[in-house]
Amino acid sequence: MWAVVATSLRVSVVAVAIAVLAGVPAGLYLGMRRSVVRNALLVLANAGMGLPPVVVGLVTAMALSRRGPLGSLDLLYTRPAMVIAQVIIAVPVVAAVTAAAAASVPFELRLQARSLGASQLHEAMLVLKEARMGLVAAVAAGFGAVISEVGAVMMVGGNLEGSTRVMTTAIVQYTRMGRYGPALALSAVLLALIVVVNTVLAQVQRSAERFERS
């Protein structure tokens, strides 16, 4: 059972890390720019937050299948395939929440920075710093989305014992087998994990807040 929990954590943490690397710069762009393209992309990111995981799973599975365009990579029913699907699910979430936080950074502050000769990169870094509490929320949202997701990881991971079986897919399996005891036990662990991660992130957020007030 703990192997399943460990797999869940490993896959989700890697996926969220990649999603943050891709989603935060994208979110900064979306939160800072004012253009038609940006508006369209922002709508896309917000809509992407509701991207149905089963659709992501289906498309990823088809692409990675032996008969699919990426079949030669031999990735279907492996952990990297699960990470790929989860990154696709998490990137819009991270980007949209980051964008919301970045957009709430006062424009005057950015103007001030510019007038002092800050480059675009400097300005972005400044916004990132000011919006760091929102970043924590972005990470929490991304993590929550992937750790509790079941449709996509079932389709691209295959729930293989000892390699791609994660908490959510194991819960589905135990339920199908009529073994509600282990299913409930795993559900409790999953819930506890989500609470722990959010508590840690809330702590980070509070210390960021304290730093801001000092």
Binding site: A100, E130, G158, N159, T175, R176, R213
Partner: protein, 299 residues
């Protein structure tokens, strides 16, 4: 600058609170959503006694093969007073649903468990309905040479000896139970990197076997239905130890016991048996299931 920071923090606070609330709500919804979807799967909503609804718990193999798509509409046409809701799960959960009276009638294939179910008083009676056969499928190259095995047990022993990948359902389903009994007969205790366990239904397990170019044990119906999307060949099927008997059990004291009995009688009767015997002939040139209900029409 400190004043400015406080002002900034104040200005950001409502937004952040909103974002955090949204996140919490999303997590909560995701969790609750997960729970409720599991619940609908295992416990159909309890409506105030709709007499016309029959909950049929059956195995994924009858669903995946398409047999129920033929049987259910025909039954509903013959008995317009009833509608059948199909819950397709593993034999293990199907029996559990019956024990909890969440299902009215069961159509499953694990004879010993079915007889124990009736003996414990959960079911009214168990009747044979039909049988199909299990087959061993695998990569066309057949590295373990199971096509020349003397039987299913020998074939599994060859796979284990060669260390060729083998995909197991591992879900306590009728198919998994059959697989375990065949391993026991082969004298090999399967395990190791070559033994892949999906814990999923037949369709998904076949897909995994195809992707991994591994052997697997499947009911012939599901294999034939999915054959075109798989890179797997039928390697072994002519062995009496591979026959797979389906039984029907109306659940004792079910919400719709009358409907459950009607369904069991109908599926074992002339029309049900005729439909089972002709299912698949148009697509595969021969029937996928052989009807053998006592007193029913033989094909």
């Amino acid at each position: 600058m400190t004043d400015r920071r406080i002002w900034l923090a104040k200005r950001q606070a409502p937004v952040l609170v909103a974002v955090l609330l949204a996140v919490l709500l999303a997590v909560l919804l995701a969790v609750l959503g997960g729970c409720s979807s599991t619940r609908t799967e295992s416990k159909p909503p309890q409506q105030p006694k709709p007499p016309q609804r029959i909950v049929l718990a059956t195995t994924t193999s009858t669903q995946d093969s398409g047999l129920l798509d033929v049987l259910v509409p025909a039954f509903e046409k013959a008995y317009p007073a009833y509608t059948v809701d199909v819950v397709a799960v593993g034999t293990g959960e199907a029996l559990r649903l019956g024990e909890q009276k969440d299902a009215d009638v069961l159509l499953v294939h694990a004879r010993a468990d079915e007889e124990a179910f009736v003996a414990k008083g959960f079911g009214i009676e168990r009747r044979d309905v039909c049988y199909n056969r299990f087959v061993l499928v695998g990569p066309a190259a057949d590295p373990a040479d199971v096509a020349h095995a003397s039987g299913a047990a020998d074939a599994l022993a060859r796979i284990a000896k060669k260390g060729s990948p083998f995909v197991s359902r591992g879900d306590d389903s009728g198919t998994h139970k059959k697989e375990k009994s065949l391993w026991a007969a082969s004298g090999v205790k399967p395990g190791g990197a070559w033994y892949i366990v999906t814990g999923q239904g037949m369709g998904e397990t076949l897909k995994v076997a195809s992707e991994k170019q591994a052997y697997t044990l499947t009911d012939e119906a599901t294999y034939l239905t999915m054959k075109d999307s798989l890179d797997l060949s039928l390697l072994l099927g002519d062995d009496p130890s591979l026959y797979n008997q389906y039984g029907v059990i109306p659940v004792t004291g079910a919400r719709n016991e009358e409907g459950a009995r009607a369904f069991a009688d109908w599926i074992c009767g002339p029309e049900g048996q005729r439909l089972i015997g002709s299912f698949g002939v148009d697509r595969f040139g021969r029937p996928l299931f052989t009807p053998n209900a006592p007193g029913g029409e033989k094909s």
